[in-house]
Symmetry: C2
Subunit: 378 residues, 2 copies
């Protein structure tokens, strides 16, 4: 293997695939990044066995030569070491050459590195996706869906399937749901190109978080391939593979109340900030609990009380109040997560009594629903 490449392009690719490489892996070859040079360009692969990321740097882009491959071939190089070396090379012109017995020479300016590589044929193969269910989303919409749901996955491994976000097709909607059994986040997206044969899957929350970091913030097309074991997200530059979680995802639709006794409509940003302040005095105390009380039909009060530290009260105007009086306590963190997902819009909150789950929605958009279970405080 021998090629010349521009450092900046190499560094971008290495940074992408490095996100899949774990320093905790027990499989020695997975501490490395695989380089495959062909006449078409350079493919880089990183993996922790659960997630695999592949970046492709084409030989030519927009008429500019990014890589000049003199001799095709493959090698695996220590991921973190290789990344640091590429980052610190003195010039933008880099030559990489593999000699006998996997010794890899990296030259740039007057720097001359010799790294001991590993046999690329021992690196795990990436699976074939040609027979999978397939549909397409824009990168920015996909990142938005992830942001609105992934925070609600369970952090506990006691029911592994709840550490993932459930994706399923219902009618013409893609429905994405996450729950840790104390709160739930649901996002629906109407899509024309959804496969009818797609079964519900649970994508690990960790995978979705990493995927978000790799995808651009624009309308780049992301092709999504699904089968029973794995999901693949593919753009022109990057291919992201994740295993799926095993087990049946619970039916969460029954959790969502069908009728409500109290409805308020108010500014979500004002509420978020008031809860953030109230949570300061609730920290570490009874699971970070704050209280919401109806004061009158134009005002609610957010309060928190911690006998050793002090207390705080704050009144917030509501635009609409309908239904019964209410006093309800909940986790400040769950409420802030939900309000951040809805993102500062005008928010509708609907309650079914102080001990029943309540839901939050945007006034402008019915696609996002957040559900929170209250906390008993007496």
């Amino acid at each position: 293997m021998k090629f010349d490449i521009q450092r900046d392009h190499l560094l971008n690719g290495v940074n992408d695939v490095l996100k899949a490489v774990s320093s905790k892996t027990t499989i020695p070859i997975l501490t490395g990044i695989k380089l495959d040079a062909t006449k078409d360009g350079l493919a880089l692969t990183g993996s922790d066995a659960d997630i695999t990321i592949q970046a492709f740097i084409p030989a030519e882009k927009d008429g500019e030569e990014l890589i000049h491959v003199t001799e095709p071939g493959s090698i695996v190089l220590q991921a973190r070491m290789f990344n640091e070396i590429v980052r610190k090379l003195p010039t933008n012109d880099v030559e990489i050459e593999v000699a006998d017995s996997y010794e890899t020479r990296i030259r740039s300016g007057k720097s001359d590195f010799h790294l001991i590589g590993l046999d690329a044929s021992e690196y795990p193969m990436t699976p074939d996706v040609t027979n999978d269910s397939q549909f397409t989303l824009a990168a920015d919409l996909l990142k938005q869906i992830i942001r609105e749901t992934v925070f609600a996955v369970s952090a506990s491994e006691s029911r592994p399937v709840l550490t993932g976000v459930n994706w399923q097709v219902k009618d013409k909607d893609l429905v994405c749901v996450a729950t840790d059994s104390h709160r739930l986040a649901r996002r629906k997206v109407a899509l024309d190109n959804l496969p009818t044969n797609m079964t519900g899957v649970a994508i690990p929350g960790k995978s979705l978080n990493e995927l978000s970091k790799v995808l651009p913030d624009d309308q780049t097309s992301v092709d999504i391939y699904l089968n029973a074991q794995q999901v693949v997200f593919k753009t022109n530059d990057v291919v992201f593979y994740s295993r799926l979680l095993e087990g049946n995802y619970p039916d969460t639709s029954r959790l969502i109340p069908e009728e409500y006794q109290t409805t308020i409509k108010l500014n979500g940003k004002e509420l978020l900030q008031a809860i953030d302040r109230a949570s300061l005095l609730a920290r570490g105390d009874r699971n970070n609990v704050v209280r919401l009380s109806i004061v009158d039909n134009q005002t609610i009060e957010i309060s928190s009380n911690s006998p050793e530290v002090g207390k705080v009260e704050e009144q917030i105007p509501v635009e609409v109040f309908e239904g019964d009086d209410l006093r309800i306590s909940f986790s400040a963190k769950f409420m802030m997560d939900a309000l951040k997902a809805i993102d500062g819009q005008e928010v509708v909150i609907q309650f079914t009594g102080a001990m029943r789950p309540f839901i939050l929605r945007s006034v402008h958009d019915d696609a996002i629903l957040q559900l929170i279970l209250p906390v008993r405080t007496y």
Copy 2:
């Protein structure tokens, strides 16, 4: 106590004094910040017993009223809680009022906090400095002196006095020295106003690092007061107290060689980057050791070799070479620290053989001297 204050000024003051507050303190009252409101303004104090920082917000500045004190008084409030609350208050107008039994009300907009405070009379007094040796430095020069020396203090507590920077007056110079017995950093500053009666002191490296964060990057005058137990740095806004280290600081002047067998002059930034690259392959291996070899009278080579990982070589041009051939090994970290302190200037390095300490100086400025002990590699 009762006063109105602008949040931004309060927050700046709290941020400064918070740097002295340690969450690890065993003295409960030191988890708090002391507020003293007088008709002149508000004094804030934070301390971890070793370092004490006081910030003063005047009642009026440049004709603008920053604080309006209705009732003078004092209180101690939980430092981190108070900081978070101030940071998150909804408006820039803040009212703070202490009622009976230390309950402190903080109001801003519609937020209403009640914090349980502590008795300010139990907070440790700050010492009097009126009889101490005194001189003055500009803040930016003081920060520069700290930056050029403090990294070389010992991280080990086996000889506590070496965890500090030694300051002493010699002729008309302030001489600042730090050493961990493997390397040494020395900075001299010629000053007219130095006290003649000042004895050498050892200022904890930790205190100097914190002081740097509090001082502005300009020519603000810093009045420095010294006695046998403590040092005080005072500007119009902030007073910084630090205890001094006990014990006699060793005489380090004998460590510096008086004659040299090899002298090179070269670009410090090029050398720094080459050593940074070479250190990648030396990491974790034999104390991060790299080698410098004279190639010819215009070139040196920086190299590193790690049998399991690989090796790297890089040649660097030298502007001047005088004396004997040389091949010497040293800690990449120590060399990079020293070159960063000299800061990218043209650098002179003088050697007295492969097993003797060598020194680095700037070509342009004799005030900084860095000394490093080589590492035996055979």
